[in-house]
Amino acid sequence: MILYEKIKALYPELQDIDFVFGTILLQNDSDGKGDYIAKWEHPTLPRPTDEQLG
């Protein structure tokens, strides 16, 4: 399951628009480190913990 899918599983109410130029930015720098949360500025939903995403 990719990072996006894990977050959607935690917060099903999130829409795609939240990830394009919204309050959440998922990014992959193609450096072998995989996807990561580059920005989390959602007004109500807390940033998922590593345990939640593990």
């Binding site: 990719i2 990072l3 996006y4 899918e5 795609d16 990830f19 394009v20 130029f21 930015l25 998922l26 990014q27 992959n28 720098d29 193609s30 450096d31 996807d35 580059a38």
Partner: protein
């Protein structure tokens, strides 16, 4: 007697007056008088003692203490100073007319106010306020010529020439520093060796060219090319996560003139010349979603340059071009893709990242 050099101090004019005395004569008058103290008297060849045998105090007559015998020969020798006219002293005087020097004039800190014709002018800090008409002349010192240097067959100015209004020279060599305050007219070729040319704004740097400005001056400027140019591409498809901004890898280069594109680690363009860069980006999505983006990142962050298409179709090509300023040191650009497709893919074919310097800073 005109002269130049050491003043002839101490030289005199000698005058001899010979008189045959009458009986008991005591007063004798030398020709032209005399200067007191500069008078010798001989009586029948015997030198008399001043103040004892005779007195000479009025500048006109010599008076013997004892009257002379008739027929005695009295010789009076007087000494006068030399008066020189039409002479030029070694300082303070001026030549009133033209002076022709046919050989070498070795002058240190010399001012020549008239027109001068010379063969060789070896001068240290020389000021010529008139015309220096020189044929085959070598000026080895500092020549400050405020008017014209008319050079003949071979005029060589080896020192610093300052304030030259007109240098009308045939076959002229200037090996020193020529400060031409007006127009330098060169009728033939200008051959530059290892010469530094200073224009408005100073000395140019490597790669710069002389350019005319709006006020007809000339200055050094950096030309746009040759500048960095690159073209990077892929040879394999790149899958990426849905709804995740992902950097596009470009492991291959068509060209990278300045080695400014990193095709091994970071896949970024970091130009080493400051200026404005035309950047061309193309992304070919073989598997697209309803929301597909191609976006340029500058220095690791989005800065508003992207293109997108909202269509749930595959085989979508997104492309855009723009002009960006790059500081030539730390600024860099990267290309990112985004799609909300379930398994988005950016293809190896049709995905490119290119750029070149359009104008230097």
């Amino acid at each position: 007697m005109p002269y130049i050099g050491i003043e002839p101090f101490g030289q005199t004019v000698r005058t001899l007056t010979t008189i045959t005395a009458t009986a008991s004569q005591t007063s004798f008058t030398p020709t032209g008088g005399y200067t007191v103290g500069y008078c010798d008297v001989f009586y029948n060849g015997i030198k008399l003692v001043a103040g004892t045998d005779f007195t000479a105090t009025d500048g006109l007559t010599v008076v013997l203490t004892t009257g002379a015998t008739s027929g005695a020969v009295v010789e009076i020798i007087t000494y006068g100073t030399v008066t020189i006219t039409d002479a030029v002293r070694r300082s303070g005087d001026t030549f009133a007319g033209a002076v022709a020097i046919n050989s070498t004039l070795a002058a240190g800190n010399t001012t020549i106010t008239g027109n001068t014709t010379t063969t060789t002018l070896n001068s240290g800090n020389t000021t010529i306020t008139g015309t220096l008409a020189a044929g085959n002349t070598t000026i080895t010192g500092f020549a400050n010529v405020t008017s014209t240097i008319q050079g003949g067959a071979g005029l060589i100015i080896a020192g610093a020439a300052s304030g030259i209004t007109t240098l009308a020279a045939g076959n002229t060599t200037i090996t020193g520093f020529a400060n031409v305050s007006s127009t330098l007219q060169v009728g033939a070729n200008v051959v530059l060796g290892t010469t530094t040319i200073s224009a408005n704004g100073g000395v140019g740097t490597a790669g710069q060219v002389l350019t005319s400005g709006a006020t007809n001056n000339v200055y050094w400027s950096t030309i746009a090319s040759p500048g960095p140019a690159f073209s990077a591409y892929k040879t394999s498809n790149q899958s990426f996560s849905s709804n995740t901004w992902t950097k596009v890898t470009f492991p291959f280069e068509d060209y990278d003139t300045n080695n400014n594109f990193d095709s091994t680690t970071n896949y970024r363009f970091t130009p080493t010349v400051a200026g404005y860069y035309q950047i061309n980006c193309t992304g070919y999505f073989t598997s697209g979603g309803s929301d597909n983006y191609l976006q340029l990142y500058k220095n690791g962050t989005s800065f508003g340059y992207y293109i997108n298409i909202n269509a749930s179709i595959n085989n979508i090509t997104l492309t855009f071009s723009n002009l960006f300023y790059m500081n030539g040191s730390s600024d860099y650009l990267e290309l990112f893709v985004y799609s909300n497709a379930a398994s988005p893919v950016v293809s190896s074919s049709g995905t490119h990242f290119q750029g070149f310097l359009a104008r230097s800073a």
